[in-house]
Symmetry: C5
Subunit: 361 residues, 5 copies
């Protein structure tokens, strides 16, 4: 199994560590991705923008006035105590804290009345051959605030922060729900980059498929298939998440934002559609690969067999005139030898022509 394959399976291993612990235990499940988490608090309304970066959270964020939106972003989630403190400040359910810490969640949405908890995955390509990696992102959307937790802190939300700062677009005049939408949208937009890279990987593989099929190709195809399964598992449940957010009874989402969520939903469907097409392409490639491999072998065997088949009758003729009978008139003929050589050439020629006409080689 390739290293990345193991990493993907590694999730299960980590999860099993938690077996037997009571449901309130906070344990970080996942690889430790860096040193200390960075907490960035952005507070903005139509006229003001304040940004604060801290390594440690001393006290809770003071209550916000009605018009401004607070966005707290936590970069790395392996600092259990930090996450737990944030949870207490905002009155989050212990199970939400647990889910934030366990970085192998399937995308989902949970409505706790006061706030909505959304989990989804950021996808990126690793290395030149685009081995797909994923990072868990958790969002808490409450009245006037959004908290985002990133497993690795890859800066995917940097562009959104810039957009708020610059004051362009509708960000500053919209509420926390629009901010949550923007974060979702930023992540889903990046899916298309991964798809493009995967598409290139498929094309490269496809070009080499007929030209030079090798045993390694089969492994590449299966690696690709595994990545697609992995992608599918990360993207497919997002559909349900977005459906849930658009539902009428989801109180944290304003009507205006629902139209935008429908747009993200359409993009997600687009991604899923493309993944399905990729899967079809790969399954077709497997057929072509197997067929190419078998065709090549068959060609070789056919040529070899044709060679044997031409020489065996000739060897027989030579054998006949190698017999030691006393009375073999041909042996005494003056032109016996050239005649037999001519016969042999003739037989060979007839056979070659026959095989050629039959298109056997």
């Amino acid at each position: 199994m390739a290293p990345e394959g193991r990493a993907k399976m590694g999730m299960i291993k980590k999860r099993s560590v938690k077996a037997g612990l009571p449901p309130g235990s906070y344990v970080h499940v996942g690889e430790k991705q860096g040193e200390n988490a960075t907490v960035t608090v952005v507070r903005y309304n139509e006229s003001t923008y304040v940004e604060e970066v801290t390594k440690d959270l001393a006290g809770c964020i003071p209550a916000q006035d009605e018009t401004s939106v607070v966005w707290m972003n936590v970069d790395l989630v392996h600092q259990v105590d930090l996450i737990a403190r944030i949870g207490e400040c905002f009155g989050l359910h212990p199970l939400v804290i647990e889910d934030i810490l366990n970085t192998d969640q399937r995308p989902k949405i949970e409505d706790f009345g006061d706030y909505i908890y959304i989990v989804f995955r950021f996808l990126s390509c690793n290395g030149s051959s685009c081995s797909v990696e994923s990072e868990q992102i958790s969002l808490i959307l409450g009245a006037g605030y959004v908290i985002s937790f990133q497993e690795r802190g890859l800066g995917v939300f940097g562009k959104v922060r810039e957009r708020i700062k610059s004051g362009k677009g509708r960000m500053r005049s919209s509420g926390a729900d629009y901010l949550a939408y923007s974060l979702l949208d930023a992540v889903v937009d990046d899916y298309f980059i991964v798809l493009e890279r995967l598409g290139e990987r498929i094309e490269t593989l496809e070009d080499g498929l007929v030209a030079n099929p090798r045993a390694a190709t089969l492994h590449s195809i299966h690696g690709l298939k595994r990545d697609l399964v992995f992608l599918r598992r990360s993207v497919w449940p997002l559909r349900e998440v977005l459906n849930g957010l658009q539902r009428e009874d989801c109180s944290q989402i304003g009507k205006m934002t629902r139209v935008y969520l429908r747009d993200v939903y359409d993009h997600t469907i687009h991604v899923i559609d493309t993944l399905e097409t990729f899967r079809d392409t790969i399954s077709g490639m497997l057929d072509i690969y197997l067929s190419s491999i078998s065709n090549r072998l068959n060609e070789v065997m056919k040529v070899l067999t044709v060679i044997s088949t031409i020489f065996i009758p000739l060897t027989f003729i030579a054998g006949v005139y190698g017999m030691n009978f006393r009375h073999m008139p041909e042996l005494e003929w003056k032109f016996g030898y050239p005649a037999v050589i001519a016969l042999m050439l003739g037989v060979a020629l007839v056979m070659v022509m026959f095989f050629r006409r039959k298109k056997w080689f």
Copy 2:
């Protein structure tokens, strides 16, 4: 990957360009299909018909009286500013403008209350082997007006315009919903032409399948399969679109027009059914192809092996009488040589007859 295959995958590439841009950004996603867009405005009611063609939209269309229908058709959608201006005139949502510009949408319907936004795809055959191409068509259906956006402007709506002009049929006496229906119907009708061409392509392939199976055939089959997947993705969601249009709560569609939409719906189901049948046929062709290839090889190997098998015992007999033993009475016989030749012929004959009876060649 064949060029058209790349083109189809190219959509994803283009899409990834947009990653990171805020949701209000208008970027044309798709290939630039020509120079300048043509805007055709048709205004008609039971008695009058006015047609105006312009390259540029100076101001908004003035408010229309209650009885007449306005149809604005835009030929090419890569002129971002033109589309944006139209959007402002008619008060379209920014996301609708975005979707019109991104020409890789999946067919969908969105009801914004004042107007309905419908996206679907026009399908056409390219070249003699009918490589399927698709063009995005966007419709805005509002109170008394229809705006249609074509990715390439292939004139598919020309026949509808002629029909309005001529005043025949119910077009002139019906509302904007009937016009929207007519445009949908014109596009779906053309699907049958693509199906017919594909059917011919399948037949051609099928005829050559048994007569002359080659490695290239496998690629043709997979190319066909890919085109079918592409078609399916373009047509399948149209079902949902038409279902949505027929729903009771869709205010822009009159009851009378619903009956007609049901008819387009039936045609769409017909197209999907035919695509499924094509898929079954192609999967059967794959079986027959693989079986034919393997049968041909087997026949060759069998014949070659039969030839070897006949000559090997004969060579053995020749070898026996080529031994140099001093005491080999047969060698001294007067008719030893002809006797052995006769023996060889006999053995060969018996073997040939045996193989024949067993139907081995």
Copy 3:
């Protein structure tokens, strides 16, 4: 592609002729099946029975009294003007007329309030090998009347007419809905005849499968598969049609008749079930065929290879004593020759026994 296959695909071709025509255009899509249509009008109630046959429909049928049922049957539907005139008389929607004329409809039901329009397909076997053919039948069920349109007029409704004439059963005392049910039932009953014939075709194929597998068998299997797909497409939507007829809000159908429709529904499910079983059987046959073909080839190759393998060592021994060394003591032995012959026989015997014990031939 076999001729019947082409005919089935031909439907799509015909359909494409209509592309671009306005939705009100009446064009016959399908093969012209005979010369002139025959219109048979039957009017009956509990006490009276009147039958009229005409080639031409001069005027509309006069309004009927409340107790009697009118059944108008049209034999061939290619006479566009005749069908159009009937449509006007009974106030049918133009799209219904179109659907009656396009003889490649998928079974469906449409409730227009005043009347229900039902399309389904009559199935029959053609030739001794039962190549399945289908004919479109359209029913209009209104208050007190039924109009039936047959694509070819195969007399499938003759038995129903006889039953009305004879006055036996509940036909005469029941309404138009019972008549419509009887026509549906007559058609579905005939499906079982087609199934029986197909079952025989499968059995014949299956018997020859192991005894004598040939390349042609593969084509027969795929022909059968194609016929099953064709049948499935014709029967499967009928389920929905019958479900629709049984629905409470279907005003033209009396409660009593619904029980009978449930019975036809059960028969349809029975037909579908049997088709699924046939499909499973055929897919199993394909496995067995491919396995038989490959087994036969393997047997041949094994026997041939065994023959070669026995003779090659013998030829080697002969070759050894054919060498021209001056000092080869065996050559001088008196019984050298018989000894070598015995050695050869021994070697051959040992090999044959070895191969036998290993069950290699």
Copy 4:
């Protein structure tokens, strides 16, 4: 096709006999299973138990008092007139009578208000290899009475009768719905016996699969598969039947009995689950079989080819010293012959060792 396969398909043949008959015609569809039907009437309440056996039904059963339950069991259903007379006595719908007579029904439930009509199938094993057979059982559950019709009368209901007679359990104190449940339960319980036998058949086949794969094994596997398909068709719809019986609006079933029906429902799910597992096992067996067959052949071909490959170079060496050149110094050597023999042994040894190390045989 094996005889039992034909019998299963035979159903369709019989059914086609009915095509064209009016819906009121009573015709027995199925094989005649014995001579005369036996009608057993049991009448019981908490205190009394009366059993009557008759070959002929003279009059209708007199109206029963409110507390007692009447169970009428009919053994063979081919006596059309007897069944028809029972139908009249109990006021059954003609279509119910038809369904009782047609012994190829799919399990179903029909609620006629006054009574419920239930059809399901009793399954049994035939012969030592457990070829699955099925028998149709029809139940009429009305107010205070149950009528059961068995296609063959295999005594499956004997144990239920014993239980009523003995007065143990809740039978005597419960109503007709509990009796109907008990009959259903008795039949479903017997499914487990068939499953057990099938499980043994699978194990036997599996044991022989690797030890001794033969062409006959493929037929056994497909026979098994066919039996599973047959079973699945008989059991799957029973789920729906039991769901229907548990529905609130099913007036004939008391609340207490619904709990018991849920239990039978669970058993049915259990049976279906096991059938699915069997199907998976069989499909795995097919893989292993094909792989074993091909492995065995490959082993044979490899060994044979190795033998040839060893002797062909040796024969070449012998051929070289069989050449008749005047000047071949080796021929004159004293130990030329033994040297060449040694050379040959050496070449053979090297090849054998090479092949061994490569694990080629």
Copy 5:
């Protein structure tokens, strides 16, 4: 079939023993897992904790006060009379007792109003290769009490008891529904251990797949597949169970506990997702295995055939000069022999180079 496979199938055998018994019969279905059952009764509230262990249940547990929770755990379920007595004490339905005794239930939930009956399966690994085993666990959740029945008593609930005893977490302050949740959670947490072990098994198999594919590998793959099917059957229905518990109308479950149940539900989905990924991986392994096996064989055959093909023409040349013609000038040449040897070497060299360049070996 491997022993564990038989054990899994054994369930069906045991079940068939019950066929024919009335629905009230208590029979233990499953293997007897130990000697005598141990009944542990734990009674706790926020302040007190009492634990009692008994081998025999003398009388019923006395009625509990309102604030405390009673948890009765029964270790082995083969003691029919003990289970029956408990059933009487708590007023359980006879069918519940039956289901507790039949240890081959599919996970399910049944709401009897006063109490809920939940069945699910504990999974564990057996042996170093992790052959999956399962144990049935039944829970009765009533007002203020939980009864748990374990098939084998593997101590999976020990940790939960410890947690109650220690008084940490919310256990002591929560009701019986939270206890039931904790038991479910403990079992589902252990699923991850089984998944981890299975993941290792898959990795081990995968590593050996390419390095050393053997016939035994195919059996390992199928064994793995069977275990996955078994797991899937045990886990899949748990989804429905947990859905059922979260439903609003489930009176025994408090609103607070529902949030926790949603968490277990998510874990179950996670397990199912991983199982699906495993299944995909295994099916890919099967492809790679078959391809590896066939590649290895093809390599062998190709090399052998190349060897034969090189020597056959050489043997022919030797045969030519072994002919006994009187007039063969080459034979008289002084350097005839070395010339022919050189010719042979040349031919061999050309052929080897040709095959090399073609990459045939």
